[in-house]
Symmetry: C2
């Protein structure tokens, strides 16, 4: 028996279209509402922020959305990505489970984020946009957009949460090497940033504030648009190349996942691997159990409310119905920065409502235990976000062992941890604590959810 | 015309043997000598440090050395690596040249070093070795051996040059996550380390000192051997998977390199891509121009002497005839730590003597200029070492433009720069200076070369 089992696909098998889950849902998700009127937003409401082609994708209902040739050209740099069978981990766990992982960390930016960054940069370029603004927390998304901007010759301005700006100079340097301009947020460059700084000149920032700043800049300039790295339908759509490739790779493996595990922050890597499999189930095909793993310190799916909420702190964005901890909620500063968002993608939230997916929340230290075990067995050192998925897969595999059954478990290893070594240093030094959010703060943030007429 | 041209190979085309240049050389390189007797070393002299199988490879003369199945199993994690045509860079340079690069940075450790680390760990495991000691400067090699040790269940102890230990905590954490034990060198764990510390308790360390420490520990324990990440024949041998794959990929591309450019520190990534092509030339096949690029601050091939010298500072290693700046030479602290070694691999030195390769030396800032241009055009951010090869390739491409001819240029992109962002930060901040070595120190180091009867 071989120790390394890697399923590759030829380049022509990079998907030619993205898979749109909308086409197969039993009911559509509730509409996104205008923040002032609470009426469903129309394309014109979003036009200051996004090119029309992306707005169209946000509400598209056809099952297959063609991937433009220039986007596939750039995907070819690192796609198709490998699907591995984790035989060494299986041996270490002594489990009858068949563990598979799709590895997105070999992209030039080190994560799955370029799948949508490249697409978004392309559509913006096509629309004549000169500059894209965005926010970044951990830096995976900012790096991906900086990379995509360099290839399409578009300026990228990244509002980087100040605490990350201070703690992650290497992430910043990575973005700047691609030519992006990084600004610590809250900044003096926007009214929303200045308002925060006026109250607290040392404010550490948050994703919600950074989104407000990026949106404000884009809304105020004709040649500038905004890009988001998760949450929105079109972003999730672009990530479905992951699951589509995995489907083809499972055919080669002559196997099929019984359970899929993904980590969830905004929901994009999770959706990318899950949606194509769920689509099969929804069209009457084979069922698959799906488990979303979120951080216990920011547990939108397991502790949040399914309600209309803003995407940002300054309430500049539309209202979306989603599992949310409230836009005023500030999660504690744990290490999986990519999972520190108060809301969950509306589409993923809708799936939870439809009971098509489960959710579990983990504290971070046992996720790092799992990540280190994975690194020593399989040789790839995961990003802290991905460690949540690793632990989820290990728990499923140990359950197989207990029950004496072999199930196929698939998870998405969404990025490598080469930029996250400080987290591993803290882990080995015993400085990594399992932080809990403040229950009182959560209650207040939930109480402060906007009141929206039943939609 | 496609923008992304990537030549892949199927997994079964991972080479089944390493290519041994020894078989095709017009004359063998001078023998390695015992440090005390100055007689050629025999297998028994090396037995305390290396398993017999590696000692045999050190002097092997057959053209093809079979790659053991368990080594190929692990190679499958990331091999075959892609060969890219750098069309976006060609456009940016407006050159008629055809630029190709082989990318070794997608390995789990981020560089070409696992090609030999995995092989060395395998042969040690096979010989019943429990622990491997080694040294690391920039950390690429230490990371690779830590990775390989984890997969084979061998303890790895890394003597890390103290200045790197202080400056690169993330590299250290990377090795420790794989389970390796890192020790700052000079250390109190060895007599050679204590001798250095007795003179200077704050000594910043050097690769030469770290080698002495690692060798001393291995020589003193039955269950412990030593591993080197470059310079030695068997290390260069293991890297030839790179060039062999590239040959197969050029066949698919229906092209052939007119010139191959590689960066040289100890010589391993250079040899890996170059030897299989040189072998064809030496067997009467197509000729190829080969250019070694070294740092101007540590220019063994362009400013060193071809002479017998020690590999380490404490003179515990055998004497090898090589281009050397003298084992007492301490290069200034520039950022391509992987190129900071006083000597050059004996086999590479021999090729220079035979006029089969050329050499050029570059200062670091223009290498970073080239690396940033490459990152923005091709999307991959190179390690500082690899930037030397990038600049070499760009210069060759610009020469094509001047002359109005199209030549095929191949270089090895030996690693990504995700662990080297401090160097990029210094570059963008204008803090990167082109350091020169001290001419007086070089003269003294050369004057101090051991006197060896003509061999």
């Amino acid at each position: 028996m071989n120790d390394t089992v890697k399923y590759l696909l030829d380049e022509p098998r990079i998907p030619k279209s993205w898979y749109n889950l909308m086409a197969d849902l039993p009911s559509p998700p509730p509409p996104v509402l205008h923040p002032a009127t609470h009426e469903p937003v129309g394309p014109d409401d979003l036009a200051p922020l996004f090119p029309m082609s992306l707005i169209a994708q946000e509400v598209a209902t056809e099952r297959a959305v063609e991937i433009p040739a220039p986007v596939r050209e750039i995907y070819k740099l690192w796609r198709p990505t490998p699907l591995y069978r984790a035989r060494r981990l299986e041996k270490a766990l002594d489990t009858p489970a068949r563990i598979y992982y799709k590895y997105e960390g070999a992209s030039p930016a080190g994560s799955h984020k370029p799948n949508t960054a490249v697409a978004q940069a392309f559509y913006n370029k096509e629309a004549g946009v000169k500059r894209i603004t965005t926010e970044t927390g951990a830096g995976q998304w900012g790096s991906a957009l900086a990379f995509a901007g360099a290839l399409f010759g578009i300026e990228v301005q990244v509002f980087m949460v100040r605490v990350s700006w201070d703690q992650k100079p290497y992430r910043r340097a990575f973005m700047e090497t691609y030519g992006a301009r990084c600004v610590p947020s809250p900044s003096n460059e926007t009214a929303s940033g200045r308002a925060v700084l006026a109250k607290d000149a040392q404010h550490p920032g948050s994703l919600g504030i950074a989104i407000s700043e990026a949106v404000e800049v884009a809304a105020g300039r004709e040649d500038t648009k905004y890009a988001l790295g998760s949450v929105l339908n079109h972003v999730l759509l672009h990530q479905t190349v992951i699951g589509q490739e995995a489907l083809a790779q499972f055919e080669i493996a002559d196997d099929y996942p019984d359970v899929i595990v993904g980590c969830t922050g905004g929901g994009s890597n999770f959706s990318g691997i899950v949606f194509p499999f769920l689509g099969i189930e929804l069209r009457g095909g084979r069922k698959v159990r799906v488990v979303a793993i979120e951080p216990a310190a920011c547990p939108s799916l397991t502790r949040g409310k399914y309600a209309y909420d803003y995407g940002d702190t300054a309430h500049l964005t539309p209202l979306a119905k989603m599992y949310t901890l409230g836009s005023a909620f500030t999660p504690p500063g744990f290490h999986a920065g990519g999972l520190r968002y108060h809301g969950m993608a509306p589409l993923v939230s809708h799936l939870k409502e439809l009971a098509l997916i489960e959710a579990r929340a983990y504290h971070q230290t046992k996720c790092f235990d799992a990540g280190v075990q994975f690194a020593r067995a399989e040789g790839i050192l995961p990003a802290p976000e991905a460690n949540h998925a690793v632990l989820g897969a290990i728990e499923e595999a140990l359950k197989c062992k207990e029950e004496g059954v072999s199930r196929a478990i698939l998870f998405n290893l969404c990025g490598h941890g080469h930029f996250d070594m400080q987290a591993y240093i803290d882990y080995f030094a015993g400085r990594l604590v399992d932080q809990n959010y403040d229950e009182g703060e959560l209650a207040m943030a939930l109480a402060g959810l906007p009141s929206v007429r039943a939609a």
